[in-house]
């Protein structure tokens, strides 16, 4: 008899403890982050991880989020999509993380989004670029704390049209996978609309990870296009740029490289001047508006001391994801009369949130897409650095160049108003 009583009593105790905990502050807030820590894309994952350690350290020193310290658990996307999905489940269901940041790969973002809905877990897409996620579906639990491929490509094209309006021919050399194909689709759709007479003289999609572009470069040398676009990144971009420089291709054609910000330090002094470059947002360690800001400069210095490098765009992306999480919790706490919010309240607080990472303020739209300004510039040498820096930077307002919520990017780009060429941009020179 005595024994029979014990179980229900224990159960009742556990259950009441459970309901009480929902209102109590947890000991820690745990986030799961997926990113490439192996494979070619680890050039993005490793810097982001290094940055997350510094940022979390700073955050926790300052009291964490609402007095609760934050810890992160990283999952390697390099181990494959299946691994990411099973680790995602494990982190949410067994470890009990409070939020997920996933992921770098657009393919993984597409897989993870429906899973986040099933598991009812706040998922911040912290780096992936595909514009299709919120154009094809709508989600309650999934948000993106940066721009997507459409404003990234459109700002690049607008910069080109503003600074080199007279080009007649263009060639593209992109990696042969979803990003390489999709980014060219966006760029060329907008190009046909805004400058209809331009001739596309070559569309080359070398294999992802191709070590040698000699043949492509010979062909481009013979074709002499006015402009050469490449949205490649990592070792592929390094190779394409270095091999083009060696063979004089960069002297014959204007290069447009929207992800070059992440390769500038590796290419070093070989980088020619006058190449149009970007970093997927207003991400730049010498951001003209913030470089003299104390917190910004202190972070750049700490990052440089820890890694020997200056931060690149995925560092800024992870900073934005953390800033958004912090912003959402603080907003939810405030809306909950200072009491610790439950998870649904935090998800509610993400909608319409404005936050600032290490760049300009980003706003989360109704469709959960972040509206982020885009900075594009041209390379220039500065003896203070062993690599090329950006000059003549233009910052494009995100609201004007992002596909309106509820619209499909292709349809929007095909009918872009001419007035988009006249949107106001701030221009900055490199300060030595």
């Amino acid at each position: 008899m005595h024994r029979c009583l014990k179980l229900p009593v224990a159960l009742a105790l556990i259950l009441s403890a459970g309901t009480a905990a929902a209102a109590d502050k947890p000991e820690t807030l745990t986030i799961g982050i997926t990113g490439f820590l192996s494979g070619p894309a680890s050039v993005f994952g490793e810097p982001a991880r290094a940055a997350s350690e510094i940022l979390l350290d700073d955050l926790n020193r300052a009291g964490g989020i609402g007095g609760v310290p934050v810890t992160a658990i990283w999952v390697d996307e390099g181990a494959g999509g299946e691994h990411v999905l099973s680790e995602y489940r494990r982190l949410v269901q067994d470890v009990g993380v409070d939020a997920m940041f996933a992921s770098i790969s657009s393919g993984n973002c597409k897989k993870v989004a429906p899973l986040a809905e099933d598991l009812r877990i706040l998922n911040i897409m912290w780096d992936c670029g595909t514009q299709k996620i919120f154009e094809e579906n709508s989600y309650r639990y999934v948000f993106r704390t940066q721009a997507n491929a459409t404003p990234e490509m459109l700002s690049t094209l607008l910069y080109l049209l503003k600074t080199r309006p007279d080009f007649e021919t263009i060639a593209v050399v992109n990696q042969d996978y979803a990003w390489g194909r999709d980014s060219w689709h966006i760029f060329s759709t907008a190009l046909r609309r805004l400058k209809p007479g331009v001739r596309v003289v070559a569309e080359l999609f070398p294999k992802f990870g191709a070590p040698d572009f000699s043949t492509e470069i010979s062909r481009l040398l013979a074709l002499r296009p006015d402009v050469i676009l490449s949205t490649s990144w990592g070792g592929d971009l390094d190779n394409f740029v270095r091999q083009s420089v060696q063979r004089g291709l960069t002297e014959r054609s204007t290069f447009v490289l929207p992800l070059m910000e992440s390769s500038l330090q590796r290419i070093g002094p070989d980088m020619p001047e006058g190449v149009i470059v970007g970093g997927r947002g207003d991400h730049y360690f010498l951001h003209p508006e913030f470089r003299d800001d104390d917190a910004f400069a202190a972070f750049v210095e700490r990052y440089h001391a820890a890694t020997g490098e200056y931060p690149i765009y995925p560092v800024f992306h992870i900073a934005q994801a953390l800033a958004a999480l912090q912003g959402a919790y603080e907003r939810a706490i405030a809306g909950n009369d200072g009491a610790w919010p439950d998870r649904e309240q935090v998800v509610d607080a993400m909608e319409g949130l404005e936050f600032r990472g290490l760049g300009r303020t980003v706003r989360i739209r109704d469709d959960h897409q972040g509206v982020e300004d885009q900075m594009i510039g041209v390379t220039r040498r500065d003896p203070a650095y062993g690599f090329a820096v950006m000059d003549h930077m233009m910052i494009f307002p995100g609201a004007e160049i992002t596909t309106p919520a509820g619209m499909d990017s292709t349809a929007w780009l095909e009918n872009l108003p001419e007035s988009i060429l006249e949107i106001p941009v701030e221009t900055y020179r490199h300060a030595e």
Partner: protein
Amino acid sequence: MDPILLVLATLDGIAYAALVFLVAVGLTLIFGVMRILNVAHGGFYAIGAYAAASLVLSVSGADLNPWLTFPALLVAAGAVGAVLGLVIERGLLRHIYAKEEVLQLLVTFAAFMILEDVQRLVWGVQPYAATDPVRLLGTVEVMGIPYNAYQIILLPAIALLVLVGLRWFLRHTLSGKVITAVTEDRETAITVGIDARRVFTITFVIGAVLASLGGALASPTTAIQLGLGAEMIVLSFAVVATAGLGQVEGAALAALLIGLGRSFAVYLVPELDVLIPYMIMVLVLLVRPQGLFAVAEKRRI
């Protein structure tokens, strides 16, 4: 096709084929003698490339004569090939010669993956570039198009040298003749007193040195990054299978065929660029299942 483009595509194809040949010839040599398809070959290639890049960078950084980067490439290739070749052959393969072929394949695949992790541990994830040798040799203009002398003169010359040297070694030196004997008929060779184990070691080390030489010579032309070895081993398999396993001269012709096929594809049908090497392989194997140059196996009863 414009005759100018014809010349350009041919030059690109030859430069590409030269590198592929260096890797494929080691693979085919090892298979000919040991009947092992050595997947770890891709690891030798990648580590040869990493080691060469490191050595070239330290020579460039040390204020020495920049032309010393050329011997640095060779030293790195020789050291990596000899050490890794000996360790893998003595430590691993020696114990599984009597086992099934599938098992041998899996063991070399495991060695390949271990070597990938070694690269990660030693060199990290950021791409390396050591381009001084390419810069030093400069460019040559062919019909108004600048080419790297390193790629269209030096690489094909070295590939040719290796081909001629290997032919001479296999036909005119005692060690070479012994290797040829084991390739053609292992049982008889052992019966007449040839020490097959020694031949295996020598062959494997030569093959490993050729693979790391390929990597070392490729290193000035490209960024060395993770995944480099996998890329090369797959392509080398295509070359070796097209030529017929164990065929040294065949590997040279198949590499040329595949190199030219690929570069012409970039000019004419760029969408097929990735596919061409494998399409050539499939077409050849459909007509000649043993490969272009394989001699029919004698049936043994």
